[in-house]
Each structure stands twice: as C-alpha cells, then as structure tokens.
Amino acid sequence: MQPLFEFGNWLCQPVVFYTGLLAAFAGALACRGFLVKTKAAASLLDIGLLMFGVSTLNPQFAREATRPDNAALWTMLFLTGLCLWVAFRQAVDNDARLRQGLKPEEAEAATARLHVWPHLLYLELVVAAFVTALLLLWAIGLSAPLEQPADPANSPNPAKAPWYFVGLQELLVYFDPWIAGVLLPLMAVTGLVCLPYCDRNPEGVGHFSFEKRRFAIAIFLFAFLLLWLAPIVVGTFLRGPNWSFYGPYEPWDVHKLSAANNVNLSQLFWQDLMRFLTGQPRAMEAMHWFKRELPGFIVLALYLTVVPAVVARIYKKLYEQLGFIRYSIVILHLLVMLAVPIKMYLRWAFNLKYVIFVPEFFFGV
C-alpha cells in the first residue's frame, strides 16, 4: 500500500492537484456526452468509493477524513457530483434536441397544467419525510463534536475556520487577508448580484442546457468548483500544523519546515532582472516606495486596462451586446477571479509573494 499512498501524496501537492482539477474540469465539459451515461457516472462513483475505502487503511487519512464536521464536506462533494450529473444528463439530451430544431424535454412536460394538490404537495411531503429520516439517522449516528472548553491562551495548531470558510483561509496562503478575507468574498457576492443584469443571453430559461450558454456555465462552474470548493478541500484535508501542506497520507509533524523564500516583484525586477540586463542590481533600500513598486503598479494597471481593451477588440459582438458599463463590470469580476489562479501559479513558479508591496500602508497585492 505504501507506494500507492506516496503517489497519492505527490498527486495532492497544490500545483499538481489544482492543475489536475483544471484539466479534469475542461475534460469533463468536453466529454460530457460520455460522462452523463449511467455506466460512466456509476464507474466514477465506484472508483471514488474504492479509493476512499483503500485510503481509510491509512491512519492519518482515516483520522482527518472522519472528523464529524467533515461529514458535511463529503456530503457536499457527493451531492454536487450527483446534481451536476442530473443537470448535465438533461442538458446533453436537450442540446441534441435543440440542434434538431426540437424543443427541450422540459417544454413537453410543461404543457401539462397540474393541480398543486396533490402533485406538488405529494412530492414535497415525500422529500421532507425522506430528509427528516436522513437527519434523524445522521443525528443518532454521529455526535456533534465538542472539544475542550475555550481557552484563549491555548491556540490549536492548525486553527481552522468552519469548513465553508476554509477556502478563504486557504487563499490566505497566496493573498493578504484584505484580499482573501474581504475583497474576494465581497466580489463573489457582487458578481452573483450583477449576474442576472449582465447576462443578456435570453437562451436557456426553464431547462437544462449547455451549448447555448457555454460561456456563462463554464465560468460559473469554474468559480464554484475550482475557486470555491477545491480550496475548501485543500484547506480541510491537505493543511496541517502551521498551515503547511501535508499529503492526505502524510503524518502531521509540527516541526515540518516549509521553504519560505518568497520574493516580491520589486525584487525580481530591480535585482534579478537588472542584474541580468545590465549586470548591476539596484539597491532597493533607499528607493522611494513609489519608484520601488512602479513595476508592480505598471503590471497591475496593464492587467486591468489593456486586457479588457484587447478582449473587447477580439469579442466585438460581446462588447456591443453588453455596452460599456455592463462590460466593465463583467470584465472586472472576471479579471479578479482569474487573478486567483494566476497568482497561485506565479507563487509555484517564481515564489512570488507580492506584485505590489507597500508596507508603509499595509498594502500588498
């Protein structure tokens, strides 16, 4: 078993894990026609269950995975998979119908006008009874955790946020708290609020579909699965003492040292690049903060102005459809969203910590 677990640890390193998920996400969207088949989905579920079963042989995995509060995360992962399977099964079917000029499958069902009593109430009653039964079993079978009494003098290591906020805590590895804890969640909310006013595509109302809403669905699922759920998984299962990375089968060790040789963009520019270009690195200590951080300001300004202009040029139709204000809102949210994986890859590739860092104002990007 041990080589298998070693391989699992390697596979779960952040860079491999996120890259693999990204590839799996793109692959799953491309191969949706195959994956929605019952046999394919059932095989995936079986493989997942088998992997889980084998993994529980490892004491470290068994301890972390079976924490009572993590039951919610496992449920979330399973239900998300199940729901996406149901949705895409219908979407693939509907897309085929729409290509043939037919109406979506829901449209046929929608022609019937049913009495709410009994048709809808019956369904509600059955579902409510079923969920009540599940909750009762869950409450009988699994006790709510209760640790030692609160002690402000004794902080646990690691101290983790509730599971639904662990994703934000995980992003603290790559961003300052004002971005990971304030800006990103705030923009997630404003993005959701703006969504119905910015999505001008009238297609796909009242039925599952994919092909007529490719862009919207791909972006939404990318944010939901890869930027919200994936960091929760990493933060919950792959972070140990001092928030260091631990493979799922790697025992926690408080003394594990993680390399902390992160550098800022200013240093990469004034020292490394200047040495490479002119053979003479510049001393940064005496520089005014604005000059020191100028490369970062320029990079950020270009990212927030040139990229939108270029995208508007390439996707002229989209820009005209949205208009200036809506386009600005959409592109701002998209750029901030994409900045998350971009910064993560920069960290892994160049140990980059800050693009701009002005400690004078507690300001780091």
Binding site: T75, E106, A139, F165, A180, G181
Partner: protein, 265 residues
Amino acid sequence: MSLGDRLRKALEERVYKSAVWTSVFRHGFPDTDRNRLWAIVSNVFLHLHPTRTKGHAVRLRYTWCMGGLAFFLFLHLTITGVFLMFYYRPTPEYAYTDIVSLREDVPLGAFMRNSHRWAAHAMVIVVWLHMLRVFLTGSYKKPREFNWVVGVALLTLTLLLSFTGYLLPWDQTALWAVTVGTNMAGAHPFIGREGPGAPLLGCDDFQVIHAKSDIRFLLLCGSVVGPAALLRFYVLHCVLLPLVAGVLMAVHFWRVRKDGFSAPL
C-alpha cells in the same frame, strides 16, 4: 359493504361534515378540481403555492427540491434551536457546561443538538445546490433577476447564521474558528486596523482606526473573542439574523409567485 368503505363513509359523515371540521376547512375533500383549488387558496401555509403549476415544475430532476428543502431545514433549525435555547446561557461561565449537560443530562438534548448542528451544515449545502440549480436552468434571467438578488442575500445570511452559531458551544473549535474568521474582518481596507489604508485615516498621534474602533471591534464588541462577542453572536444567531432571513424569505417566495416559476418557452 367492505370495512374500508364503511370506515370511509363513517369518516365522511362524522368528521368531514362535522361543525368543527367545516369551521376549520371551508372546502370539501380535495378530490375534485374545485376543492383542490380551494385546498390551496384557503390555507395560509399552502397558499405559498400557486393552485396549478406546469408539469416540469413538479419533477424532482428539474427542481431537485432544493429551495423547498432550504426552507424546510430553516424550520427544522428554528424548532431544534428554540429547544436548545431553553438550556443554554450565552456566558463563558455557563455556555460550555450547558452544552455538556445538554449532552449528558437533558432528555433528548444530545439528539436535539446533533440534529441542529447537522441540519445547519445541510442547509449550507442545500442553499448552494439551490443556487446551482437556479443558475443551470437559467431561472435568474428576466423577469426573475431581482429574486436572484434576494436569493444571494439569503445565501449570505445562511452562511452568517451558521458562522455565528459556530461560536456558541464555546469550545476550542468554536473559539479559534471564529477568531480565524473575524481576524479577516480586521484586514478590511480603511475600516480594519490591519487593513490597507487604515493608517491614512488620522495622523501620527491621532489614529481614527485602532484596535478599539475598527470593524472587528464592532463585530466582536471587543478586541478579542470574549464574553461580549459570545453574547453578540448569540443575539445575532437567535434573533436578528433569523428575523432578517424570515423577512427576505417572505419576499423570495412572494416573488416566485409574482414573477412566475421558470419555464421553457
């Protein structure tokens, strides 16, 4: 006449036509079209529904029942939560021991606490999946844009409700999870003492934003997670947030009726 028929007939004669029954239910047994409509419109709870609906809307694989389940879990949490309130005092002296005695001494106490905790997690999950379903069926599009916005507010409130409840057991998990969560608030630009821009408000001798005036202090009623924070989170969790959520839910359901359930063209 079989026993079942006789029983049914007796029920109809003695119960459904009795003065008490007819004073409560103004309509006959809902086995005719007319009575089925009346069953919905003459009942304040069932009146959340329309009288009739399109065929796809009663399918589990279209709605996943997630919106209804979110409301159902909210009710479940209200009931179990009220039960827990009978036995819980939100002060550091008592909070933890009250939870222990709920588990050890109170009849059904452990069960109520467990089911409250798991239903809270379940509600977070269900609300997210509800959002996913509404997105994937394009139901947020015109004319339902505003109701989506109300839904986003309810989603945020669900997370806040869960987060404020997380502190109440007053154990190590609670204290430190909430410390981690609220520390982020201290990093809020300008209004958090560790946030960018905060030193710009004020000058060297006079700082407007400091450990006792920033947003984190407002949230915790102190500079650490202490007794005041416990009381504050308790009131938010049991009174303010559920009230706001209740009002928004009323708006949310009302708008589903007024804007119409999403349907294919």
